[in-house]
Amino acid sequence: MKRLENILKTVFCVLLFTACESFIADDINLDPNNPSSVTLNAVLPSIQVRHMDVYGGQTSRVNSMLSQQVEGVARQWSSFNDYSGLTPTRFITVWDIYYGEILIEVNKMISDASEDGYNHYAGIGQILKAAALMDMTDWWGDIPYTEAVLGIDKINPAFDSQQAIYTEVFSLLNSGVSLLSGGNGGFAVGSDDVIFGGDTSKWIKAANAIKARGHLHLGDYAAALSAAKSSFTSRADNMSYKFSSTQQAGWWRFNDGRTGDLEFHPYLREMMTALNDTDRLGVWDQTFITSHDYLKADYDQAYISYREIQFIIAECLSRTNGSASEMETAYLNGIKASFAETGLSDAAYDTYVAQAEVNPGGASLDLEDHILTQKYIGLFVQPEVFNDLRRNDFPVLTPTSGSQIPVRWNYSEFEILFNSNTPAGGTLFSPKNSWDN
């Protein structure tokens, strides 16, 4: 009985006092499942894969559908195809990814890297940030930036104008290039950089490529041309991420889970058939299933590619009446790179460009009939096609419903609901981007 009494006494005391602090406190409420901080090499791949995935995934699907390269034919996608289903709720996910999974992380990465003097991380961060910002302003127009990603310090971030965003994009790219041109501060970027493996010269080329794309959007063809010429010189330079058979690309996962919702568009089929583009068509115009020969699991998703740069050079030369032979070279390089990207032989390319409809010779190259047409085809399912469509109003598409082709994305439903600064009245059809004349 004495022993029992002692046990009871002990239990009571342990219950009430001895253990009070350790029982209730002692970091019991510290989340053991998630780290409270991580190092730069754990954030960089996250930002890169996240961006490549949203760019080559939902962004690619929506833009190539609006650009009539693919057609929504079943379930939700049939209502997206005629624009009626593309309500603000449909843009929640992509908006969330850009702000919550790219921008806030890249800001933190840049500030952490700068603090420690790890300039290569900071430089790559600035280039990635510039790319994301340009995407966002191109899809949505005015967007929160200067007051964005500050948590509860700014719960209604103000919207910055598209012009201001573009200014920031160029400034970030310049700063990124200058940081990457110096030392790494003692922490080299390595295999955690899943795009270039820490190769600073490739990052500098990529920064110039993004700059060229930006200047092209704004109609500054001279600046675009000059930037393009300091960028990619081969397909090996592509700013791209190759998915794998086990970590599959966005299109493959879509075709796996949503088989039959999207298919190849008859408009593009007709355009390519008219140009006897049978080889590329044979690879692209297949049922959108997991065994599709182009939209493969291990698709090499480019953010910006050598072929796009070559088409930019050709377009700028055409618009500025530059050298016809340079223009022809760039034009043909672009087509050739597209064939190679599609897994086709040089022979197939040679046959194709031997046709006068495709290549009537440098001096006869028409901006729309040749350069923009081949860019439209050559950038199959790249989101940039939607920018070209709006910039050039070419190719001339028939709206799938109503009388207008969408000129922008809707803001996220949640931004409309929860941010009182969200501009009212936006639709898919207005307002146009500042560069969209």
């Binding site: 409420n29 754990a42 995934g57 289903g85 702000y99 948590g151 295999s191 086990t246």
Partner: protein
């Protein structure tokens, strides 16, 4: 403080020189008939027992104390103990009720003293319900309680709410206390809330036959002593412990059958196919090989078979094998009548109904109990097998329970319980996922045979029904779309194994009237191992997946009660309670996924080329200190004052210095009860009258652990339109900042409640009416307040919500007929509750609970909890002066008047989502009847739920596919204008046909408009009906069996509802807070069970 505890411990250890003696005896009514279950109490203490089946009892008490005997409907009798060892009581049928109920912390009190509402449901009501789940067995038997079964799956759980909700997004299910300690009633979801399988609530582990009684503590005053844990109400379950007397053996066997109640009203006329084009709206059949999803094809009666690959309408070559045989139907493909082989097309309309089976269930239960005056024991074991109505769905449960009491000496008493439960489940995928059973089952066109020529039962075990020799899946979408139902039940099962041990150990040390100490320690350990199979080729995981989850949940609870009390004067009685409580919870999770199988037929990590794993740990601790004083004056006025201080680890901010005040909060409770009938002259009409009032505050805990900080998580790479990627990628794992921002300033939620009630009994208690009204205000509700994502975060945790709740609950007891050969007792329970969300967070007027982005259940300031918001038709007045931006404007429907639009003539879509439904019922009535005619017992329970809207996602989706009856009728109608106005305000005169293009537009299935799919989910239901017969063992000359009973119980045999679809008693999101969403949930079942009970 520290000293006082040692002091208390010391006091406990002092041997006090009061002699104790054990009294035995029996309790009978005035005619000498034994009263089993009568309560024996040592007056002024918590020491008590109940009489056994023969009315015998045994109790150890202080010499010189008094013991009382009470029984429902009888006057309590008291006797003083002075040396005798036997006291028999003969109770007079009384005017007053002297029921003793178990209240908070196991304290037994006379119900007349209570200033708040407690309702008791007895063991018979549980055991004879025809359900194996204690929660389901409670339906309709208690006022203020709403129980919703989440699905008709074997082993599917139920959700219980007491007096509506108290937390906006946290737990709203009551605390379950078994034998004095907190017990795990969690529901662990696997997968997203709208997909996956049915899940169990852990209270299902309890064998109903072990339950002695269930007490439901409803309001804040009743639960205040449980602190935050009891904020949503408390269900106090007492199990059987055995009683002094000879060994008793009780055996129960039941065998039953469950079958499908109803299915959706499907069309049976039109085949797979679609219209040729918008301009040529003739329909044509399309082969499954095309992946065609719709049933907007020709009438099946206009089609016949052909096997000729050269037929002009023959499907593409890929639909034939190398020998030229059509792949998708052994009879051939379909062609217009007159062009084929003359064999009329089969109508496989029984695809879905025939798929279900009559499911058998059986339960064997054995219990052995008995005891001496020093000790009692009870052992029981049960074995349940329960098939689901879906083939291959199974639920099995084995329980072992051991309970006993030991009166060690005059002062010391031990009570212990020990339970082991083993449950096994084979579950079926349901809801919104491509392997969800009913998606494929309901959407399959009538021209496609899921069973591939087999009879439905044979197809279950015939792989060639659902898989081709090359391993590709055979389904109506050419291998795409949704899994073939026969594929799912063979290749996408989830297996679960739950091993659980729980029990309690109580020591009671009774020093004297003023000092009684009880220490009750309980532990509850659950191991839950799950394996989700997806064979290679499943639509959910085309490369195959074996997904293993191992959950280990451990919780412990320790309560120390010190109490006492006695008469101070001849009118004033006082007693007190101080109590301390410590609780800890910990759940570890270990998850391993193996995907990309090398070959089919071996769903195992060993066959996977990609294996990933993760772990999780969830933990929290709570402590509480309680003080309570009760006073009664002249057995007429009863006053109770209580206070509790809680400490909760979930309020702690890691990395900061410990300060008790950061973790703690105090709240008070007071209640008053007045026996008006004591103040009135004795009356033949009014036998008893009590009015009561109470006020209390109760804290609510943070809804989850770890909300005070935020960090990084592994990056989610996906966009909702396909599987997300899993890290590591290229050997690296990427982390991103949490999307939810933590808040170091969080404090507890607070509920303040007033309750008024009356308890009236008439005509010698033949008629009883108990009514309670309560009014609650919940403040500081913790919300994951939405932020615009441009802040970098989607949500932040904030103490900001406010909500009110009020309701009335009433219980009417009627002894309609009472005679020797015939009696009819009836109880009506009425429940109404309304929770209004008053405020969310600053700048936030809407918070998503559950459902889909196009329609779901939300919290909206000024609206009922869980209001359904979704797309609606555009109306005149939308956006106008009278449009509040939420409710549907009172105006005419505007039709799309743009001739170039594909939706010309259809209803236009309101760009704003509107409040389109309220999922909360207006009221719930349960009418429970028990009739006895000689040795026959008849019972029936009617369950009436008035109102409560459901989002009919099945109707929504099936209209898109043309599988519903409505689309079959409207597609052949002549063109008619939609009632409404055109954009210019003139009456609509644009004729349209509601055909494929209509139902595949914004106003059809998968469109953004939901208002036409919101339906009243109310019902009137014959929940239980039973017929029992007390076998006259003596008359039959069977003397080794004391008594026996044979009964048949029917459950859910009939119901009436206006809801178009499966039984509206369903919830896609299971036990979560968001309710009112039906999206291909498992249909409910009806059941009949035969039961034999023998007592030796």
């Amino acid at each position: 403080m520290k000293h006082s505890i040692y002091f208390m411990a010391l006091i406990m250890c002092i041997q006090v020189a009061f002699a104790q003696s054990t009294i035995t005896g029996n309790v009978t009514d005035d005619l000498g008939v034994p009263l089993p279950g009568a309560t024996i109490l040592e007056v002024g203490t918590n020491n008590g027992t109940t009489t056994d089946f023969d009315g015998n009892y045994s109790i150890t008490v202080q010499d010189g104390s008094s013991i009382s005997a009470g029984f429902v409907g009888y006057e309590t009798s008291t006797a003083v103990v002075s040396g005798q060892d036997q006291i028999n009581f003969s109770l007079q049928q009384g005017n007053q009720l002297e029921e003793v109920v178990v209240t908070s912390l196991g304290i037994k009190r006379e119900s007349k003293a209570l200033g708040y509402s407690i309702q008791t449901v007895g063991s018979d009501d549980i055991a004879n319900s025809g359900s194996n789940s204690a929660l389901d067995a409670l339906v309709g038997k208690a006022a203020g309680v709403q129980i919703t079964r989440s699905a008709g799956s074997a082993g599917g759980g139920s959700r219980i709410l007491i007096r509506g909700v108290t937390s906006m997004i946290g737990n709203n299910q009551p605390l379950i206390v078994i034998d004095g300690v907190r017990t795990n009633n969690e529901t662990l979801n696997s997968g997203s809330s709208t997909a996956g399988t049915a899940t169990s609530n852990r209270l299902m582990d309890l064998n109903n036959d072990d339950i002695e009684s269930i007490n439901i503590l409803k309001g804040s005053a009743a639960t205040a002593l449980y602190g935050t844990a009891g904020a949503a109400g408390v269900v106090v379950i007492t199990t059987k412990k055995g009683a002094e007397g000879e060994m008793k053996v009780s055996y129960t066997h039941s065998t039953g059958v469950d079958w499908l109640s109803t299915t959706f009203n499907m069309q049976t006329e039109f085949a797979q196919g679609r219209n040729r084009s918008r301009s040529n709206r003739t329909s044509y059949w399309r082969s499954p090989g095309t992946g065609e999803s719709s049933s907007y094809g020709p009438r099946i009666t206009d089609l016949e078979y052909s096997t000729d690959p050269n037929h002009p309408d023959a499907p593409s070559a890929s639909d034939f094998d190398s020998e030229g045989n059509y792949l998708w139907d052994k009879n051939g493909f379909l062609v217009p009548k007159g062009t084929g082989n003359g064999v009329a097309a089969n109508n496989y309309q029984d695809n879905y109904r025939g798929f279900f089976r009559d499911a058998m269930q059986s339960l064997n239960n054995l219990s052995i109990s008995g005891g001496s005056e020093k000790a009692t024991y009870k052992f029981s074991t049960s074995y349940l097998t329960n098939e689901g109505i879906v083939p291959n769905e199974e639920y099995g449960r084995k329980t072992f329970s051991l309970a006993g009491t030991l009166q060690a000496n005059d002062k010391l008493k031990f009570t212990t319980t020990f339970n082991f439960i083993r449950s096994d489940y084979d579950r079926i995928q349901q809801g919104s996922n491509t392997s969800g059973l009913l998606l494929g089952l309901y959407r399959t066109p009538i021209s496609f045979d899921n069973a591939n020529g087999f009879s439905a039962p044979d197809a279950v075990d015939s792989p060639s029904a659902y898989i081709f020799p090359n391993g590709k899946q055979r389904n109506y979408r050419g291998g795409g779309g949704y899994d073939n139902p026969y594929w799912i039940i063979n290749n996408a099962l989830r297996e679960e194994t739950v091993n659980r041990v729980y029990g309690s150990f109580a020591v009671e040390y009774n020093v004297n009237k003023w000092l009684n100490a009880v220490l009750n320690v309980g532990a509850d350990f659950t191991s839950d191992i799950r394996k989700q199979n997806f064979e290679k080729g499943s639509r959910t995981s085309s490369q195959g997946l074996s997904s293993l989850s191992q959950y280990t949940t451990y919780q412990s609870d320790a309560i120390l009660n010190i109490s006492g009390g006695d008469a101070i004067t001849d009118k004033l009685n006082l007693n007190y309670l101080v109590s301390a409580n410590a609780f800890s919870f910990q759940r570890t999770g270990l998850f391993t996924d193996g995907s990309n199988f090398a070959f089919q037929g071996f769903i195992n990590l060993a066959n996977a080329s990609n294996i990933t794993g993760s772990e999780s740990l969830l933990r929290n601790t709570q402590m509480g200190l309680v003080a309570q004083v009760e006073a009664d004056w002249d057995s007429t006025f009863y006053l109770t004052l209580a206070a509790r201080q809680d400490y909760d680890s979930r309020l702690g901010v890691p990395g900061t210095e410990f300060k008790g005040s950061d973790y703690s909060f105090v709240y008070p409770a007071a209640s008053l009860s007045v026996l008006v009938s004591e103040l009135l002259p004795k009356s033949d009409v009014l036998s008893f009258a009590k009015v009561r009032a109470s006020w209390a505050q109760v804290g609510g805990p943070p809804p989850f652990s770890y909300l005070t900080t935020s960090g990084y998580g592994i990056t989610n790479v996906g966009d909702g339109w396909g599987d997300a990627l899993s890290w590591p990628i290229q050997g690296i794992t990427g982390f991103e900042i949490d999307s939810v921002l933590g808040n170091s300033d969080l404090k507890s939620e607070l509920t303040e409640e007033v309750e008024f009630g009356v308890d009236l009994r008439f005509f010698k208690n033949r008629v009883g009416l108990d009514v309670a009204y309560y009014n609650r205000k919940m403040t500081d509700a913790i919300l994951n307040a939405s932020l615009p994502t441009s802040t970098g975060y989607q949500n932040v945790w904030l103490n900001s919500g406010e909500m009110t709740g009020k309701g009335i609950e009433a219980t009417l007891n009627l002894g309609i007929v009472e005679s020797e050969d015939f009696s009819w007792d009836s109880q009506v329970n009425y429940t109404t509750n309304e929770n209004i969300v008053e405020q969310l967070a600053p700048g936030l007027d809407k918070l998503f609970l559950a459902g889909f982005s196009s329609a779901g259940s939300y919290l909206i300031a000024g609206n009922q909890y869980g209001a359904v918001v979704g797309g609606s038709y555009l109306r005149t007045g939308s956006g106008g002066a009278n449009d509040d931006g939420l409710n549907i404007p009172e105006g005419e429907v505007v039709v799309n008047s743009d001739p170039t639009s594909n939706e010309y003539g259809y209803q236009a879509v309101d760009p704003v989502q509107r409040a389109i439904g309220n999922p909360n019922p207006d009221f719930i009535v349960g009418w429970n009847n028990k009739l006895r005619i000689k040795s026959f017992n008849i019972g029936f329970l009617l369950d009436w739920r008035q109102g409560g809207d459901m989002l009919n996602g099945v109707a929504w989706a099936l209209s898109f596919f043309g599988r519903d009856q409505l689309s079959a009728e409207t597609r052949v109608e002549s063109p008619t204008p939609i009632v409404g106005v055109k954009a210019d305000g003139t009456p609509n005169d644009i004729p349209i046909v509601r055909d494929q293009y209509y139902y595949q537009s914004s106003v059809g299935g998968f469109g953004s408009v939901w208002e036409q799919f919101v339906e009243d989910g109310g019902w009137l239901r014959l929940r239980e009906v039973s017929l029992g017969w007390d076998i006259p063992m003596a008359d039959l000359g069977i003397d080794f069996i004391d008594s026996g009973n044979l009964s048949v119980v029917g459950r859910n045999l009939w119901y009436s509802t206006e809801y178009n679809g499966v039984d509206p008693e369903t919830s896609l999101t299971g036990v979560g807070n968001g309710q009112g969403v039906d999206y291909f949930n498992m249909p409910s079942t009806r059941s009949v069970m035969f039961k034999l009970n023998l007592n030796l």
